[in-house]
């Protein structure tokens, strides 16, 4: 009986703790939005963070995009050739990338490259009392540190996803057209005819903006909330990657289900 009470107490305490944390994160999100004026009034702060979060993520995004596109080209050709429609390879590669793989894989890469860096940076600033010093100098750390990073993430994410998709399409072209020998004209013209800007491209952009919000919100919150110790920052960084990766996959399913019109 005592053991059951202990288990129930532990469970209750964990659930209550989780709800508190969610509430704190929501309040933090609201505060970040409220203090976002600085991020736009002094846009150079945001530009600097776009460089760190976006530009420095370019290599991993472009290289991954190229390889994903090349694999898509190989696998897509292997399937399509069985039905005699290998000319549709361009459509398959483009739709897969713009609607799904581009935003999702770029989101996962962004979470591990930029999200973890944002959490670690803010967490270390907290641990070394830099945030406290800022507050003591009458400068709000949410306005000066958090908001520019938050908006930099939101701006960078769709651009990175678009570059990922473009690089992926190039990879598919390299493998499909250059190596395997699919007709060049069919590859591009079918893609042009089948990919709709509003239905396909905008869907991908919308998804990547949502992923950008989710990832950077989680990253800045985890950094700001991290216990000010080496272990605390390390755990917060891990939590950012795990939580934001799961959030990307879950949000992708929800958005795809809402946008799905096949039934």
């Amino acid at each position: 009986m005592h053991r059951i009470t202990e288990i129930l107490e532990g469970l209750g305490s964990r659930v209550t703790g989780w709800i508190w944390r969610l509430g704190f994160a929501s309040r933090f999100f609201w505060l970040t939005l409220r203090h976002s004026g600085t991020a736009f009034r002094r846009f150079y702060l945001t530009i600097r963070e776009i460089y760190f979060a976006g530009v420095l993520s370019l290599v991993i995004i472009l290289v991954s995009g190229l390889f994903v596109g090349m694999v898509l080209g190989l696998q897509g050709y292997d399937t399509l050739v069985r039905y005699g429609s290998s000319e549709a390879l361009g459509v398959l590669v483009a739709l897969s990338l713009t609607k799904e793989l581009g935003p999702v894989v770029a989101g996962l890469l962004f979470a591990s490259r930029a999200g973890s860096a944002i959490t670690a940076e803010i967490g270390l600033m907290k641990a070394t009392e830099q945030l406290a010093a800022m507050e003591m100098m009458a400068v709000d750390p949410i306005a000066r540190v958090v908001a520019p990073r938050f908006w930099a993430g939101i701006i960078s994410m769709p651009l990175l996803a678009a570059l990922f998709s473009a690089m992926g399409i190039f990879g598919g072209y390299l493998v499909g057209v250059r190596f395997i020998g699919v007709d060049d004209g069919s590859f591009w013209s079918q893609m042009q005819a089948a990919v709709d800007f509003k239905e396909d491209i905008l869907t991908g952009i919308f998804k990547s903006v949502v992923f950008g919000i989710a990832i950077t919100w989680i990253a800045v919150f985890e950094g700001y909330d991290a216990p000010p110790t080496a272990e605390g920052v390390s755990r917060a960084t891990t939590r950012t990657v795990v939580t934001s990766s799961l959030a990307v996959l879950a949000l992708d399913f929800v958005m795809t289900a809402l946008m799905f019109r096949g039934i």
Binding site: T128, E129, Q130, A132, A133, M136, A138
Partner: protein
């Protein structure tokens, strides 16, 4: 030497002195209402003075500094800085007051992504509309005052501990504050850097006409530097006086602290049962085991 005793005019904000920069009036604080970290603290710091708050680690002196800085709010009593009740100020009011307060953190807390120059210029850029040329002049002036004008282009990671503390000092006085708060300014410094920082603190306090509160447990340096000392223990001010009075104090705890003796009212050993009894019990236990085995 007791609060409200010999120097009764200083302790207790109700002394009516109009020129006190900081008044801590019957303040109690605890992270949990049932367990107070600070109890009935009464401190009054006149303008222009340099005051040390000393005591053993964990006695509540840093908590007191955080209360004066407005980071924490007291559970009982009131704190006034320049006549303003800091615990009742909103965020806007608190920030307005903090522009006139400088703080030196224990390890400097320099912004690691900025150069020494940008660190010192930070407040000037955030809070003034001065042209960059004027900001540069003021920043170099502050750096010159701490002897580090030549290090303006270095990054904090390229500085020694003492240099970093001097840069942090230059940054904290960038807006010529009326009140300076020092949180363990001598921690981890070599004797040379320690002396330099101490002299700079005194010189800046006097040249700016500021008031300074130094939280430290570095007895030798603090007693040479400050005008008045509050000695804290277990969350209360247990002694106060001029450095001379503290040096000659007959209070056993103050005397132990000043002389750095390992044993006294603050015991060397953490509470534990009698060692002889412990050893005897262990021997008895071993004997019983051996007998059982035989």
């Amino acid at each position: 030497m007791q609060p409200g005793g010999k120097n009764g005019g200083r302790s207790g904000a109700n002394s009516g002195a109009p020129d006190n920069m900081v008044e801590v009036d019957k303040v109690g604080f605890g992270y949990d209402r049932r367990r107070l970290v600070l109890r009935d603290i009464n401190i009054a710091i006149p303008r222009g003075q340099m005051v040390a708050v000393m005591g053993l680690s964990g006695c509540g002196k840093t908590t007191l500094l955080r209360l004066i800085a407005g980071w924490l709010r007291p559970i009982t009593g009131e704190i006034r800085v320049a006549g303003k009740p800091i615990s009742r100020l909103g965020r806007k009011g608190l920030f307005a007051l903090r522009r006139r307060v400088g703080m030196l953190f224990q390890f400097g807390a320099l912004f690691t992504d900025m150069t020494v120059f940008d660190n010192v210029a930070f407040q000037l850029r955030e809070h003034t509309d001065l042209p960059e040329r004027v900001i540069a002049d003021l920043t170099l002036m502050k750096l010159h005052a701490v002897g580090l004008r030549g290090a303006a282009d270095l990054m904090p990671s390229e500085l020694s501990g003492g240099m970093a503390r001097r840069v942090a000092l230059a940054r904290s006085v960038a807006l010529d504050p009326m009140l300076m708060l020092y949180d363990e300014p001598f921690a981890g410094l070599d004797p040379l850097s320690l002396g330099v920082i101490g002299q700079l603190m005194r010189r800046l306090n006097d040249s700016l006409g500021a008031t300074s509160i130094v939280v430290t447990h570095d007895v030798t340096e603090a007693l040479q530097l400050v005008d008045y000392v509050y000695f804290m223990s277990n969350g209360v001010v247990m002694a106060q006086g001029t450095p001379e009075e503290i040096r000659n104090s007959s209070d056993p705890m103050v005397a132990q602290f000043v002389k750095g003796e390992s044993d006294g009212p603050v015991p060397f050993h953490y509470p534990a049962p009698d060692y002889r009894q412990d050893l005897f019990q262990e021997a008895m236990l071993e004997k019983a085991i051996l007998e059982k085995a035989a």
